[in-house]
């Protein structure tokens, strides 16, 4: 069980997406998942070992690290990737439900199983809203937990058992900051893609509805 599972999940979703949805899947795969696994994980790999405080007091480093990093950047990033990919499952479930219904009734109930209309449209719109919501929540969490997206070189810590205020040094702060900004940029891009897809679908189906009611009126 690993990221390959997420990849398979998203490949399945790709089939039932609009064009913008497919671009979103490509961005998530390549600029977020691949960068996370191939690049970012290694930067944060030894973050605790390389966190150094100017003190010999046992336990002080551990306590200070825990105080400044309640949840590590990299874990928050992984959680964000998982939560943001999951709403797409709603669409997959809905299509499977449609398939089951057709099997149960033994006849064709829908013009095309994967066509985004009716109930599936609502599910798709809900999944878009949830995805956008999760992105914004995680960006806000990052901002709140770490006072912005900067990673300082030095933090001052005076929690017991540290004897006084002690200087603690974070490893690779510049590299971590660069990748945090990269994360924010790709999150922002995904939010923009989700919002455009939302507007596109709402616009398309409003026009469809309007035309239908116009044709009915004039019949």
């Amino acid at each position: 069980m690993s990221w390959g599972f997420l990849r398979d999940l998203l490949s399945g979703v790709n089939k039932y997406s609009t064009g913008i949805g497919r671009i979103w899947v490509a961005v998530v795969f390549i600029f977020r998942l691949l960068v996370y696994i191939a690049v970012a994980e290694n930067i944060w790999k030894y973050e605790l070992d390389e966190f150094e405080c100017n003190v010999k007091q046992p336990g002080c480093e551990n306590v200070c690290f825990d105080h400044f990093f309640p949840v590590s950047h990299i874990r928050l990033w992984a959680l964000q990737l998982i939560m943001v990919s999951t709403p797409s499952l709603l669409v997959v479930f809905h299509v499977a439900y449609r398939e089951n219904r057709e099997k149960h009734h033994n006849r064709k109930l829908y013009r095309s199983l994967g066509e985004i209309d009716g109930g599936l449209l609502c599910t798709y719109l809900i999944s878009l809203v949830l995805k956008t919501g999760f992105e914004i929540v995680f960006l806000f969490l990052f901002y709140k937990l770490y006072n912005g997206f900067k990673v300082p070189r030095l933090v001052k810590c005076d929690i017991r058992p540290c004897p006084n205020t002690v200087d603690c040094y974070i490893s690779k702060p510049t590299e971590k900051m660069i990748f945090l900004y990269f994360l924010v940029a790709t999150s922002g891009l995904c939010i923009v893609l989700n919002l455009s897809e939302l507007s596109y679908l709402i616009f398309k189906y409003s026009i469809k509805c309007y035309l239908k009611s116009y044709v009915k009126k004039h019949q």
């Binding site: 790709n14 691949l34 405080c53 070189r153 030095l154 200087d167 603690c168 040094y169 690779k172 590299e175």
Partner: protein
């Protein structure tokens, strides 16, 4: 999910590339991605642990390391490879869009559609002409831009491509100027020069492919202008044969780009 997934995605693009494009893809996978994963990552694996400074001052090593390596070589290469591979997706998307349109035509029972079944549409390889030519050429242009930008970033950040053995550091909290020693500097220099060399080869291949496409475009235009009664079938048959030969020679992987060609 790793570089293998990128390999699967780009393998589908291979079918619609020119022969130079196929060579470029092979060079990318064998001489860059594989070298990165199999060799370079090991060389840079212990870079901070074995970065040693001649001081007992806690924190000095961390700060000096961060000062001299704002972003590690290995991370920069990985990013470069990801960015350089991405424009090929534009081509994949365009091909998927064309296939989708042809399938729609086929389903509507359009008389103009010359395919016998859906399978034929799925397997068909599109020639690089019309709007696909523009997409393909833009993707090569973006590749060139990304390669150049990353090469320049490398040169700018590390003052050339050599990895020094010793660096002098006096960032706070280091008490005075302190000697810091980089681990495996010669091996790192060798790999850096190798990656730069392969990057340059890729740039040359991209430039050659761009020139080839432009030449083909202008030749086709002048032929059309000069000889309006030319036989498109004959030309297409020759191109198809050449493409088939190229495919046999080069590494043409699985047919499916993830979801793109379904």
């Amino acid at each position: 999910m790793d570089w293998g997934a990128l390999h699967t995605i780009l393998g589908g693009v291979n079918k619609h590339s020119t022969s130079i494009g196929k060579i470029w893809l092979t060079v990318l996978f064998i001489f860059r991605i594989m070298i990165l994963v199999v060799a370079a990552e090991r060389v840079w694996g212990d870079e901070q642990d074995d970065f040693v400074c001649n001081t007992l001052q806690p924190g000095c090593k961390n700060v000096c390391y961060d000062h001299f390596f704002p972003i590690s070589h290995i991370r920069l290469w990985a990013l470069q490879l990801i960015f350089v591979s991405t424009p090929a997706l534009l081509v994949a998307m365009h091909v998927a869009y064309r296939r989708h349109e042809k399938k729609r035509q086929f389903r509507k029972g359009d008389q103009k559609c010359e395919y016998k079944d859906i399978e034929e549409i799925r397997k068909q390889r599109f020639h690089i002409e019309g709007t696909l030519w523009w997409t393909y050429t833009s993707s090569i242009f973006f590749r060139l831009v990304f390669e150049a930008v990353f090469m320049y970033a490398f040169y700018f950040m590390y003052d050339g491509f050599r990895m020094p053995r010793l660096m002098k550091c006096n960032a706070w909290p280091c008490p005075n100027t302190v000697d810091c020693f980089v681990s495996r500097p010669t091996e790192k220099t060798v790999f850096t020069i190798f990656m730069i060399a392969v990057s340059s080869i890729c740039i040359l291949l991209n430039v050659a492919e761009l020139c080839y496409l432009l030449t083909k475009f202008f030749l086709r235009r002048s032929k059309k202008a000069g000889n309006p009664k030319h036989h498109p079938n004959h030309e297409n048959k020759e191109e198809t044969k050449q493409n088939e030969m190229n495919e046999l020679i080069s590494d043409s992987c699985q047919n499916t780009v993830i979801g793109f060609s379904s």
